[in-house]
Amino acid sequence: MSTSRRLLSRIGLAALALLVVVEIFIPLHAHFSIADFFSFHALFGFGSCVLMVIGAKGLSFILKRKEDYYDDS
């Protein structure tokens, strides 16, 4: 199990690296100057997801309740 998982994660990381390297050959002409730098989409996708997970975690302290929260009233 652990070897196959390690293999899968290696394949995944290789695919990620390949996606960035390919950008050398296929330039992404961004519509906005702010987005017009190498590997913008990779960084933006990663960064915004990290922010969303952190945001959700922060909100979970306020919003999360036990499943029977509405039942016991």
Partner: protein
Amino acid sequence: MIASFLHPGGMLILCGLLLPLLSRGWRIGVSLAAPLGMLAWVWLMPNGTAVAELAESGLHLHPVRVDALARVFLTVFCLAVFAGALFAARLASRLEIGTAFVYAGAAMGAVIAGDLLTLFVFWELMAIASTLLIWSSGSNSSYASGMRYALIHLLGGVLLMIGIAGHALERETLEFVYIGTRDWHSWFILAGFLINAGAPPLSAWIADAYPESSPGGMVFLSAFTTKTAVYVLLRGFPGTEILVDIGLFMVFYGIIYALLENDMRRILAYSIVNQVGFMICGIGIGTTMALNGVAAHAFTHIIYKALLLMSAGAVLHATGKRRCSDLGGLVHAMPFTCLCGCIGALAISSFPFTSGFVSKSMVTQASADEHMLYVWLLLQAASAGVFLHAGIKFPWFVFFQKDSGLRPPEAALEMKLAMGFFALLCIVPGIFPELLYQMLPWPVAYEPYTAAHVLAQLQLLLFSGLAFFLMLGWMKRTVTISLDLDWIWRRLLFSAAQGAQRRLSGLGQRLGTRLEGIARSIVSGMDRLPANQNIQQGMLLFLIFFALGLWYLR
């Protein structure tokens, strides 16, 4: 003439009323044949409008209006009814399949309504039928959620009626064309429409009520109410700027709540809000590119969301479990369901070569064409977030992660057929986008498959996948629910009412004992008086004279 005779919504409603009376075999046969017949009607009907005058009021009704935009929605509605009926062929009770057809017919009636009054009638019928569909799952929780659902939609109906009445009075027409936000009554119509779209502040009803329906019921529910709302907004309020902000809010609301959620079908319910958010945002942008994108996205969304809900419904039916924390590792026991769920997950994430890629990118492109930098950035971040909350989270926690040890049987044949059909419909438009684009109301000059676009999208998605797996520890499932604004009436007002009731009954009790004491002391005082009979007679006489006196003085 033929148009009003063979009203497709009316036909489906009629089917819905007949279905519970038929024997099982006929019921399945009719429920599969009827949507296909209606699909033929939709494509054979020429464009046009049927007009009738409303009882000498000078107002005209247009009960049937067919054009390219309506046809997009009618087509996908027919497909959704067909696949939903196939999926639930053995699952659904008589009552459930009947209400599902009335609900679908009402939604189709609302789409072909060319005037606001006809629209309102079908709008309300949709609310009633969908409430019955939620209730038909028969659980106590579905009863309570269905009641809350009905109240929200009745409120929406009241707002809509106020708006329509104002519209009819001031503009002296009922024809449903562009409305805009010029007058006060237009805002009421907009609010009525937005409530059905799941817009803030009333978004909670989708995740509250839909997951309480049966495995097959939610497939129907996900398709019609919110998408009919998108359709009427597309007709009545294109280019209304506030819709851009409302849509962006919904997009992130859906992502955050889905990330916090543990119930698999509630995750998908939140992602309905998220996807409708993309559409509302596109309606707010309002260019033909954006509006084409909204129509295309509604079409593809209904199909992949139904596919996701069918795979979740198959899991729920087979295991009886709905929490991600109880599920996992089902890829071994239900490989076909898992495959279909993954195809739906890729399509909702707009992966290249799926239907979502060719539809959602039109809305994003429209924001770039209009130089709306912040809208574009937020939509891109949201696209990454969709992969995070629906694209990976749903299949990962249900079919993979740790093995839960559950080994249920694979889904039944008719469920597999329904899922396979919709999985195909997620892939075919992704490979041949012209099939979808030529249906759209305006000519499309957009090529989704450029090397740069595919590469940018893959970078965005796969790196958000990296973020998911790196932060997996932060997304550990907890057996919890998340508070929403419905807390105000489910908890605050409820406990306030309970407190008031307690206090009033306490007050009543105290008052009661007090009055009882007074009465007792009067009685005992009277007992102590001598010849009390005379006094009583005297008091009676006094009262009679007093009343007579009052009457004379009158």
